[in-house]
Amino acid sequence: MTPHSHSAAPTTATTLTALLVALLLWLLLTGSLDGQELFIGLLVAVVTVLLARRRSALFDGIIWSSQLPGAVLLYLGYFLRALVHANLDMARRILSPALPIRPALVQVRTELTSPLGRLLLANSITLTPGTLTVEVEDALLTIHWIDVPPDTDIDAATRAICADFERYLRGFVR
């Protein structure tokens, strides 16, 4: 949420990552492997990355290793399951006449250090059952929780929300 916190000049690896992402997006949008299309795409990707050079520091957070693809797939699988669960949970609350919600704001500290890691964590929390990331200040996340059960250890319960995602995310981001 704070893209300027990493203001150091992006490394070569970071720039290459940004270039790859831009090129992949071009490929998906044109849906063609024609030589001329590819050439223009490469040109556009290079110009985009140069224009957005300072912002591409976001990709610093990626941990490059042979386990990266597997870790991303594991995370996506867990995330999609959580997203479906979140929707069934939300549907139940919306359709129930009693509107069973007991909302409160809670705070949790994350161990992820990179802006990309925190962005992914904040997004994951927003799309999963009953939670919405309201604020990210350094390592401290403020979360709007739609149903805080009474008499629970709020700190421990909040930790639990974060811990699973953090475990999956740490496989490929800092």
Binding site: A86, A91, L95, I101, L132, T142, H144
Partner: protein, 103 residues
């Protein structure tokens, strides 16, 4: 494939409808954002998947749209929620459960 695709379109529309219903039923803006974001994100993804089954040639574009939506939708919601919090909008509490006594 066509049947399954159409079914997914209906399911997607249903989730979007639930999101709209949530906007109407929830007591305050934070809860409305919660209902809206989740339901509409999944609803849109389901719709995109349905379209991909009906028009297989479109899947690269649909994948790009889905990926961008997954990143930007929650960011948008979080930013709106953050602006509200900074502007001093207090979250709604269930009255009987509130120890501080504010409605």
């Amino acid at each position: 494939m066509n049947l399954l695709g159409s079914l997914l379109l209906v399911v997607g529309a249903l989730f979007c409808f639930l999101g709209a219903l949530g906007l109407w039923r929830m007591p305050d803006v934070y809860n409305r954002i919660q209902a809206g974001t989740k339901a509409v994100t999944l609803g849109t993804l389901t719709t995109l998947l349905g379209v991909a089954l009906i028009q297989p040639g479109w899947w690269p574009k649909l994948l790009a749209i889905g990926g961008l939506l997954l990143i930007t939708n929650p960011i948008g919601s979080s930013v709106i929620a953050r602006a509200l919090l900074r502007a001093g909008v207090d979250p709604w509490h269930r009255p009987e459960a509130d120890k501080r006594g504010t409605p």
